[in-house]
Symmetry: C2
Subunit: 338 residues, 2 copies
């Protein structure tokens, strides 16, 4: 049976570990050459993202890195690392709910039966503690930060509570005191699974052979000429090809403030003729280009933007009944600061 090592950010029990487990489930059919025989994927924790990138570039296996969170935005250091890598690209994208369970050592019940005046200590990464404030207040816990949620669970002592991803319960043999204790539902982190670039091309072919018809692509481009309109001109080329963008941002080139790269997620595969022609046009205009990831298209919500979804304030004219002198209305001047 074919085997593949999948590297993730440790210690065991991180959200990245949870993402790696989900990725392993999805990718098992693609480990070996024989599609009737699922491969085996071994998960290995590494201490930081540069170590994951090195391991993948050395051909030791695949890697999983956090890419984007719907509350915090892009994980920019990982984005910069992928842009600057030598032989690496994403070929799969998996999402994980950012949900915390409250754990205790097996057989222990620190939330009940402690008669003392001292508050019970709860431990998690400071981000985790910040996301479970309501539970901390309800149970009069004293928050003590840990280096990671997984470490808080791994090092948990009797009489104390830890917050961590669901998988920490099984991993460390802990009792689950309460599930989903985070203050808000709906936070989600998305991860990219990385391989060497030639492997990504092979894997994309195999996804297509297995029936995947639609892909998404993340590209980065750097115009060497700057000034007004450079980006508009690039986006015109994408628009004229009918390519739909789902995310777009500018970033300084790493280490060079005042220079710009652009990162663009598109609903198409780079081998589709219309996309390929766009890339050819950009390249022949001297724009630096790199494809960062190609992965099967996610099921994504595509709601219409209704007026009730708009943020508070701002200016929103009803195109059917634009008033005379609307430009000098007090609310317009106030919202646009002109």
């Amino acid at each position: 049976m074919a085997c593949k090592e999948l590297f993730y950010l440790g210690p065991e029990g991180t959200f990245t570990h949870q993402a790696a487990m989900e990725a392993a489930d999805q990718l098992r059919p693609y480990v070996g050459g024989d599609e009737d025989d699922d491969g085996e994927i071994t998960l290995t924790a590494l201490s930081d993202v540069p170590a994951i990138i090195d391991a993948v570039q050395q051909g030791r296996g695949w890697g999983v890195i956090a890419w984007e969170n719907n509350v915090e935005g892009y994980v920019v250091p990982n984005l910069d690392a992928l842009i600057d890598s030598t032989d690496l690209a994403g070929f799969a994208r998996v999402g994980v709910d950012v949900a915390f369970d409250a754990f205790a050592v097996a057989g222990d019940d620190p939330l009940n039966g402690h008669g003392g005046d001292e508050p019970v200590i709860v431990s998690a990464h400071s981000h985790g503690l910040a996301q479970c404030k309501r539970f901390i207040a309800e149970h009069h816990l004293r928050a003590v930060p840990a280096s990671s949620n997984a470490a808080a669970c791994r090092d948990l002592k009797p009489g104390r509570v830890a917050f961590g991803p669901r998988i920490c319960g099984d991993l460390y043999g802990l009792d689950t005191l309460a599930e989903r204790v985070q203050d808000f539902e709906g936070a989600r982190t998305e991860f990219l699974v990385l391989a060497r670039r030639d492997d990504v091309r092979d894997l994309s072919s195999r996804f297509r052979e297995h029936g995947t018809g639609e892909f998404e692509t993340i590209i980065t481009f750097i115009p060497l000429v700057t000034g007004p309109g450079v980006v508009a001109n690039v986006l015109d080329i994408l628009r004229d090809a009918g390519l739909n963008m789902t995310s777009f941002m500018s970033r300084p080139i790493k280490g060079h403030d005042g220079t710009y790269s652009f990162i663009d997620t598109l609903d198409a595969a780079p081998w589709e003729p219309r996309f390929r022609e766009v890339l050819e046009t950009l390249a022949t205009h001297g724009i630096w280009l790199k494809t960062l990831a190609v992965y099967p298209r996610r099921e994504r919500p595509n709601p219409p933007v209704d007026a009730w979804m708009l943020p508070q304030g701002g200016v929103h004219l009803d195109a059917m009944r634009i008033e005379r002198d609307w430009q000098t209305a007090a609310t317009v001047e106030r919202e646009l600061l002109w």
Copy 2:
């Protein structure tokens, strides 16, 4: 003498506190109505950003929030909060070097003279600890996370070390063991100073009266129609007006995955005719608009993009000598994944 309260994220000694001190120095002439008489600015720590936003919207003073870091990118929760605020905008932007000093309790020298085998404990926020790994390794310290760098300094015990912003030394009466112990130089966080929207318009007028000629503006816009080309069409309008963008990104509308707002930083003021016309055009096309900030233009590097600055890999054609069949070259196929 006129007085103004400036709210920042506590506890005392955070990088936001340092930014608030720098903002207070710059803004003292603008506190009162009389430009010959500097006002007084009182700094007040609050426990989270929503409390700062509430205080400013209630007219209790100005506020300072973290906006962007050159390593981590935008502080997206603060960006979302500003987009969704009812009566708030930025009117000044200040930057702070993310630099850590190593502190000890006054008179203490934990790095020398401890004969024991136990490693000396160093405390800081887990991000701070991650940024000072070299110093930790050199001195064989044991890292223990704290809820913030400022709290680590405030609560420092004899025999231990804390990492924190420079200002923590004076604030907490600590001895500085070593300056700038962070692994990498050049990390920087930028902050926005917020006021109620009518105050921002007054302040902008006064900046102009005091001789500020150039401004930057951050706008957010939401097209209610989506699909290929919507953003390209908006950027065409900006390009045709000669407006230079220095940052651009898409964000889902808060709480509505799959919808998009766009945040754009421009080298112009919204009251300039060419910019005002752009905003009018966008508004009459039914696009929702809001100005998030107008502030005096920063001194910024504007280096040419040279080929040596480009990330590793990628495709960069020399426009003067494009080879035949370059599209099927192995490196091009590998970098573009087509």
